[in-house]
Amino acid sequence: MAFYSEKVMNHFRNPRNVGVIEDADGVGEVGNAVCGDIMKIYLKIDDGIVSDVKFETFGCGSAIASSSMATELIRGKPLSEVLQLTNKAVAKALDGLPAHKLHCSVLAEEAVRAAVKDYYDRQGIAYDPKDFPDCGSCEGCHE
């Protein structure tokens, strides 16, 4: 059996939506260099819908695949649905991740959330801070 599912390898080898949106409406960056993974997600929002999304990731195969999959899952979706995205959904869409790699799907969820929060902040849209915890489950944080 291969280390990663075919789906993970597919998204790792041919990541969807890599890049930068220069005039993004919301940008979220999570993770840190010490832990070895950083994800950055750029959102373009039109009428409350994700009209474009791009990502940049520094990290392992599953980190790149998770970011790619997360961008695919939220593209064209209203923000209310985007905020429903869970790490489990990302991992499931990738046909599963090895146990010690689930962290990568968590980062993807958090990156998406951070980008939406940034959009709300920029627009002055009110939200419940409980939906946007400062730091998630990055247990390996050394900083």
Partner: protein, 394 residues
């Protein structure tokens, strides 16, 4: 496929396979049995022991067969610790960059009341004999310093450390798993009291190794049972693997100089080519290193991604990133030589052998820079460095 992970394991040599095949067919008796079939196995076993002893200038009585390097390390350290404890000596000197077979055994001993002192290894990954001399105390039971490092290839001054230990009357063990068959070893001349080696690092089979222990250094059993290996390691001997190990070690040792010349030329070509990649750095000593070892850090990329993309191009390599170590921290060796976490995550080890070719080196030198550039291009960390938001480390 380009196999450049010979520090992980090696392909078995024809000599080893032939010796083992013959053994499998004809010499399948139990060496402890009295009848001819058993005694032939005993002869094969003792013949292998002698030939292995010759390769490291030991005597056959000093060779104990184990399941590999890890068991040999465990048994050497436990034996020395017990010996020391009987004389009230509970201080053990080692180094921060040792293999986990050594470090984890030492950790256990700490829990049993021993005091372990891990020497720093400097930016090139070397322990000096002076450091060892300064660290030795009245109650030092053992000095255990590896012969050459498995990740960064730095060769340690085993002879000098051996001389210091002998002069001060302290046992010296060296984990020579990466060195055996690749670098000359003379346990007598180098004052080595105990040494571990593993067959699959020099084209022998997996699951077999040797613990050399100088005469009058009594071993403690890890495995109790029958009287095999002079009562020091129970269990019917793996004659098949032992015979394969002897054939592989003999062959490696008889071609050592020519192999080292060939492999180190390939290594140096690889090092000079990879050094062209901006914001990269060689890990380990640039000259005093294992003939086949190349280890680099590339800033702004993560090692596992690099390995997967190299695998897509048929290149087998390894990395010290957290994601490949299965823990949250990157390689303890890279941290020990002072690489920050961030940089250690972007490490790549290529380890060569005499079967690698110039063409393969050219293919690696084409693939690595392309993959590093590709990964950097999607790395927000790299972008931040280029834009000046973060500073370059390398």
């Amino acid at each position: 496929m380009i196999y450049a992970d010979n520090a992980a394991t090696t392909k078995m040599s024809g000599a080893a396979i032939n010796a083992m095949t013959a053994c499998m067919q004809d010499i399948w008796g139990n060496p402890s049995s009295l009848y001819g079939l058993g005694q032939r196995a005993k002869e094969a076993l003792e013949d292998a022991r002698e030939r292995i002893a010759v390769c490291i200038a030991a005597s056959p009585k000093e060779i104990t067969f184990t399941s590999g390097g890890s068991e040999a390390d465990n048994q050497a350290i436990r034996s020395a610790a017990l010996l020391g404890a009987r004389k009230g000596k509970r201080h053990i000197i080692s180094a921060a960059f040792e293999h986990h077979a050594v470090l984890h055994t030492l950790k256990k001993l700490e829990g049993e009341g021993f005091e372990v002192e891990l020497l720093p290894v400097g930016p090139l990954g070397t322990v000096t004999a002076d450091q060892v001399a300064e660290a030795i105390r009245e109650d030092t039971a053992l000095v255990t310093i590896m012969y050459a490092n498995n990740e960064i290839g730095s060769v340690q001054p085993a002879s000098e450390i051996g001389a210091v230990c002998r002069e001060r009357g302290v046992l010296f063990h060296t984990d020579a798993v990466q060195a055996a068959g690749h670098l000359p070893i003379d346990v007598r001349a180098q004052n080595i009291d105990m040494l571990s080696l593993s067959a699959h690092k020099f084209h022998g089979p997996k699951g077999i190794g040797v613990l050399y222990a100088r005469q009058r250094v009594p071993l403690t059993n890890l495995i109790e049972g029958g009287a095999q290996e002079r009562g020091k390691r129970a269990g019917t001997e793996n004659v098949l693997a032992i015979v394969g190990m002897a054939a592989a070690l003999e062959e490696s040792c008889s071609h050592m100089a020519e192999n080292a010349a060939k492999v180190s030329a390939l290594r140096d070509k690889l090092i000079s080519g990879l050094s062209q990649i901006p914001h990269s750095a060689l890990n380990g000593d640039p000259t005093n290193r294992l003939p086949g070892n190349v280890n680099f850090c590339f800033e702004g990329v993560e090692g596992e991604s690099l390995l997967l993309l190299l695998d897509d191009r048929g290149i087998c390599a390894s990395s010290g990133s957290a994601c490949t170590s299965g823990s949250l921290d990157p390689s303890h060796v890279l941290l020990a030589i002072g690489r920050p976490h961030e940089v250690a995550h972007g490490s790549l080890r290529l380890s060569l052998c005499e079967e690698n070719t110039e063409d393969e080196i050219d293919a690696i030198l084409k693939a690595v820079p392309e993959i590093v550039a590709y990964l950097r291009n999607m790395s927000p960390l790299w972008k931040d460095k280029v834009s000046g938001k973060r500073t370059f480390i390398l």
